[in-house]
Symmetry: C2
Subunit: 412 residues, 2 copies
């Protein structure tokens, strides 16, 4: 699927360049690797490490779920000082709902990684993804972690090691050419189900070699995540294990980036996050379409975000898109239940660019033609509420029979 | 599907009796009928009338969606005086998002019905169900309404005329034997998709021949709906056309029922609403299971209701149930994102009566055995939060491939 359209941020293209084969280890001074530890299945990469050779600053955002997995609880603590420089991550077991034993396992994973890398254990973030309520097979983690080979192009392997129901790895890197120095931002992400992030989606790791202020890095990450990972949905379910982190090791030759000078860094980071977030939405479980919902003219930004997310999350809207059914009434039904302020008589609705509702009245359209135009990798819905200045964009995917099949027999 | 279990209210069984072949016209003095008006398709009942021969009191609850269909706007007005005694209803067209023209069409439907019945137009409630954003074919309504034959057993036809994706009609009547007089409550309902009511589900009509105070009738209806229709979900989407009404014509020989004497009426009405609501959940689009979610020991009733409804609405929980997958971690993930107060270490979770989590720790269980026990018409999930006294029960259904198929080509 082409997700070219995700690049619709108005960026100065001559200044931000996508790297070919870019990944989380594209920035200078980052190594990664992964091995087959047989955590849930044999014969697949499922345990990996990301490592910055130099001391670094870091920032991270975590799931807002009240039920937080053990690795999230530990990583929140280790992220507090902002000095983490490594991530140990596994797929196949979420280490969530595992009580005190689960927390000890997460601590042991950090300690094992720290020992291998000769750094302090509190400089390691731990992330896990997989089945909730199963205990981490620590013997297999312990036996395998030493076998991980850390390589300059190890990001590709790491991107595959974190996949669960994902059908493809999600990786990117961009080179930013600022007058006061060039630097690179790279990232990987995973996620296909239990995707309706309330902070960050299930696992994305970002890196940069930029010299950057720690406090600004945290703010820039939060802003980028809010308009990217926090605006996607696959199935409306929020994970216990969501986490996005960025490690900056300052290896590039740029001047220190601060809040005053950080405009381009902020935009480049937003672009990277948006690419990875849309990659997750487009690779949603069973998905055959990327769906983009633009809401304009809502009362405020918060209401625009809410409405956009609810439309992308509606099972009925998603199923209609799967069947190329221009049943726009389902979009308006979502607006109605959203609780957002609205004036039905001011409402305009567009489907694939064609206006189907004007000022609250249905417009005639050729059903077969519009249905045919929906047979596209990307389906766009635009809602103009025309009562305020709140705008937002959210991304999701269609709902297919395959989604149900995937989720009917996940643990058994 | 057996929904026997829905009758778990502790009622004095010798005093409330289900009538065989009971329907909305079982109470004395009610007539109904329906015809094929070809509103969307030919060859199916799609236009009907319900009529009380005597002057009556009525009560109704309506969708809380900001986008209300034209018939809802009109019926809210006509319900205000509490004297409605007829309902005209069609399937095949929701008359929603149809602007001022739609409102005129709803008014014309009320006027046509009033003329046929020789009553005032403001004594008629109008209800529509079907595709949103299509205009009512008023010529067909006008030509057909005169052909409706009003009969004492016409409730059965009316129950079929309001069906859309429903696979079976939903009807019931109970006879209540109070010391101070016997009376009957009857009802029909429809709904299979866009079911996540925020007030009442898409169309249920109730009748009673009880003599009853108007104000108490309204309160009893709201209470019954809150614990029945407002606790079911099929797909998380709330309709623009939801409406539940009850007409009481006082034909029975009971003493006037008031708030002081209304305990049994309240319970009988709750039982009727619960039966019809569970019938809708069990007949959800593509459903093969009725799912009951009990939440106990939440901080308060409001949080218990919210959590119970979110679990029944989770696509991942629903898909797991479809596949007999005892993946209880998905239930806990919903609790986590619910925003409800909780203490993970106090949490107990049961699936089909088997405890799978105790005090926040996973319990070992035999996956194949529990999976086998989930192959039942009814799947029960119980969550004990153990932090307060809030209890609630919600009902839903599983998510099947068939659901997607049904909703992929509804308008085209």
């Amino acid at each position: 699927m082409s997700i070219e359209k995700c690049y619709s941020l108005n960026l100065m293209k001559e200044k931000i360049e996508e790297l070919k084969q870019g990944t989380v280890t594209s920035p200078q001074g980052f190594l990664a690797g992964a091995v087959e530890a047989a955590i849930k299945y044999k014969g697949r990469l499922d345990l990996g490490l990301l490592y910055s050779e130099a001391p670094s600053v870091c920032a991270a955002v975590f799931t807002r779920s009240t039920v937080k997995a053990a690795p999230i609880i530990l990583s929140m603590k280790n992220n507090e000082k902002g000095r983490a420089r490594a991530v140990v991550v596994n797929s196949g077991c979420a280490n969530a709902c595992t009580g005190d034993g689960g927390l000890r396992d997460a601590q042991d994973m950090a300690a094992l990684a720290a020992k291998k890398l000769s750094i302090r254990a509190d400089q390691v973030l731990v992330a896990s993804t997989g089945v909730i309520g199963t205990v981490m097979p620590m013997d297999r983690v312990q036996n395998s972690i030493g076998k991980i080979k850390l390589l300059k192009d190890g990001g590709h392997k790491l991107a595959r090691a974190i996949m669960t129901t994902d059908t493809r790895p999600k990786e990117i890197a961009v080179r930013v050419m600022e007058p006061n120095g060039h630097y690179t931002i790279g990232g990987i992400a995973k996620g296909a189900g239990m995707i309706h992030p309330d902070m960050a989606t299930l696992l994305s790791f970002l890196t940069t070699d930029a010299k950057i202020e720690s406090a600004f890095l945290a703010r820039a990450l939060k802003a980028a995540v809010d308009d990217s990972f926090n605006m996607i949905t696959v199935d409306g379910d929020t994970s216990t294990n969501d986490m996005v982190s960025i490690i900056a090791n300052g290896k590039a030759d740029n001047d220190l980036i601060t809040a005053e000078t950080g405009k381009m860094f902020r935009e480049a980071l937003a672009r990277v996050c948006r690419y990875l977030a849309c990659s997750i939405a487009a690779d949603g479980e069973g998905a055959t379409r990327l769906v983009e919902v633009c809401v304009e003219g809502a009362k405020n930004r918060s209401q625009a975000r809410k409405v956009a997310r609810l439309v992308t999350a509606s099972a009925l809207v998603k199923a209609a898109i799967h069947g190329n059914d221009p049943n726009w009434g389902r979009v308006v039904a979502v607006l109605g239940r959203s609780g957002a302020d609205m004036d039905e008589r001011a409402l305009d609705v567009y489907l694939q660019g064609e206006q189907v509702m004007r000022s609250g009245n249905p417009l005639p359209f050729e059903k077969n033609k519009l249905s045919h135009r929906m047979k596209s990798d990307e389906v766009k819905i635009k809602v103009c509420m025309n009562i305020g200045t709140g705008n937002a964009v959210a991304w999701g995917c269609d709902l297919s029979q395959e989604y149900v099949t995937i989720n009917s027999d996940y643990t058994t």
